[in-house]
């Protein structure tokens, strides 16, 4: 990958970010802005999930616990202290530290396990947090949750939009750098072949724990934004549905890319909104989750690489083929096909 290419994609992403800055001045409807904000938040959450699933090859069904930790830390701090910017910053710090500690402990305890055992254990741990949030009523208000107030500036839809957009862009570029760093490359090697990575002299458990801490902290930050966008929190932020949602976003968008989960989050959020509004037409649209199930199955069968993955594959196939033809016009077609998926994962 040459430098010019990197810069080109960076410029494209920056241009899109700038376009998104203008959006709230055009789309002034509060409910529409709210949907876009939710989209940003879930995009952050889905990206963090993809660090585990797409880059390191760790399947976690309990990723929602970090999201929930972020949401509850913010809600509780804002509830107990004055609703000022200062306590909001305190809430973020607490959310991040808590998530880092929990993900570190959980990671060290569980990441030695093989894939499916790990998946089961994370499911159980997330369940534990859910029960905890239900039972510790004095702190969490139980199942019903509680509302809390926010400083003036965060109540404004416009500024909340900017905050979420800024977070999304910063986290996107941060994680992008991470995945392109030597460290990120090792994560991808672990996804491809754990045993081999080990015999190259890398300590894979360390890498997995660090990846899960990074993913946990980012997910927790998404949880912070989620709770301030609702100004309300209840136990649904610990529900397994939420993990399934981000799993869906990541898979639809494209596993192993960062832009994929963002697109997936957008699709799921907007589809959810539009399908629900079709409920008057037919009752099935109210049960949109059924439709999701079908989409999910179809995507896994026909587009296992997701939207971005499939496009990348098509695009690079053609590009490579043309490159090859220029280099060696006599090269046979089947030889060209052999090297099809070049750089597929290197350009995410």
């Amino acid at each position: 990958m040459n430098l010019a290419k990197v810069e080109k994609s960076t410029w494209i992403y920056l241009a899109i970010s700038l376009l998104l800055v203008i959006v709230p001045f055009i789309v002034t409807g509060r409910s529409m802005q709210f949907i876009i904000i939710q989209f940003f938040i879930f995009a952050i959450f889905a990206m963090s999930y993809d660090i585990l699933l797409g880059y390191t090859g760790i399947i976690s069904f309990g990723h929602v616990m970090f999201f929930g930790i972020g949401a509850y830390s913010t809600a509780i701090v804002m509830n107990r202290f004055d609703s000022t910017i200062l306590s909001f910053i305190l809430a973020i710090i607490i959310a991040i530290i808590l998530a880092a500690i929990v993900s570190l402990i959980v990671g060290m305890l569980t990441l030695r396990l093989k894939s499916h055992f790990y998946a089961m254990l994370t499911l159980a741990l997330a369940g534990l947090f859910l029960v905890g949030a239900e039972k510790w009523r004095s702190l969490t208000g139980g199942n019903d949750g509680f509302t809390f107030s926010l400083p003036e500036i965060l109540r404004d839809s416009q500024s909340l939009y900017m905050l979420c957009l800024l977070s999304l862009v910063l986290i996107f570029f941060g994680l992008r750098r991470l995945t392109k760093s030597p460290f990120g490359r090792v994560l991808m090697a672990i996804r491809e072949n754990e045993k081999r990575t080990e015999s190259l002299g890398y300590k894979i458990v360390h890498y997995k724990v660090i990846a899960s801490v990074v993913a946990g902290v980012v997910a927790s930050f998404a949880g912070v934004l989620y709770s301030i966008s609702l100004r309300f929190v209840n136990t649904s932020v610990f529900a397994t549905d939420m993990t399934i949602d981000v799993l869906l976003m990541t898979i639809i968008g494209g596993v192993g890319t960062l832009i994929g989960p963002i697109i997936g989050a957008g699709l799921v959020e907007f589809a959810h909104h539009w399908l629900s509004s079709l409920a008057d037409v037919h009752w099935i649209f109210e049960r949109w989750i059924i439709l999701y199930g079908i989409v999910y199955i179809l995507v896994v069968i026909f587009f296992p690489l997701g939207i971005v993955g499939t496009i990348q594959k098509k695009f690079f196939n053609r590009q490579n083929y043309q490159k090859k033809k220029q280099q060696n016009p006599r090269r046979k077609l089947d030889e060209g096909r052999k090297e099809d998926e070049d750089e597929l994962y290197r350009n995410g």
């Binding site: 760093s181 030597p182 090792v186 090697a189 045993k195 190259l200 099809d340 998926e341």
Partner: protein, 255 residues
Amino acid sequence: MEAILETKDLSIAFGGHVAVNGVSVKITEKKFTSIIGPNGAGKTTFFNLLSGQLTPTHGTIYFKGRDITKLSTTNRTRLGIGRSFQITNVFPNLTVHENVRLAVQSQANVRYQMLAHFNHYKQFKEKANELLELVFLDDKANSLAVNLAHGEKRKLEIAMLLALETEILLLDEPTAGMSLEEVPAIIDVIKKIKGQEDRTIVLIEHKMDMILGMSDEVLVLFHGELIAQGTPEEMIENETVQSAYLGGQYDEQLT
């Protein structure tokens, strides 16, 4: 002569089956040692014990006089024992270049660098390219490893192993499953490494004729036991070896 790697009474049993039985050998530093034996003789199992994939039921392994029996694969690699696998074991969905670059990166001890771009380390790229040239894979550098032909994957394995710059190279049937035309290229690579005389090479091989010319020492395994050890010439003349391996019932497997 200095023994770099030594095993004492090394055994491993899988259930009731003793795959490696009381093997005590000394592998001499900077020499070329071959391990031969018929199918199921425990050659690969013995390698797995040396490289740490398996833990012995009893017995000990010494590396430069230090007991390494309990060390993990990772730590043994870092100490200086690198191995290639009989069953091709690469990173399928990464490019050939990236496969080697990861090995170079590990050797250079860049492990937890998260902030710099991976292209920041130009010397890794260059070294990876050099190694790919050495194994005649430079024209495939940007292909995904999964799309390589079998022989090319074997070459990639060797390039990755070389990138680690370990003192000991454990090569598990480097020519297994290769087409006849590809074999000489691999042998050239191995001879080139041997020519540098700075590594200890241990090689498992099925094809006797291939190793006889290169080996300084030959170990013969049979049913998990070490039945003979010596120079290639001695092995050819050794009667036990002949009856167990070179002659009679196993003849057809030599080809």
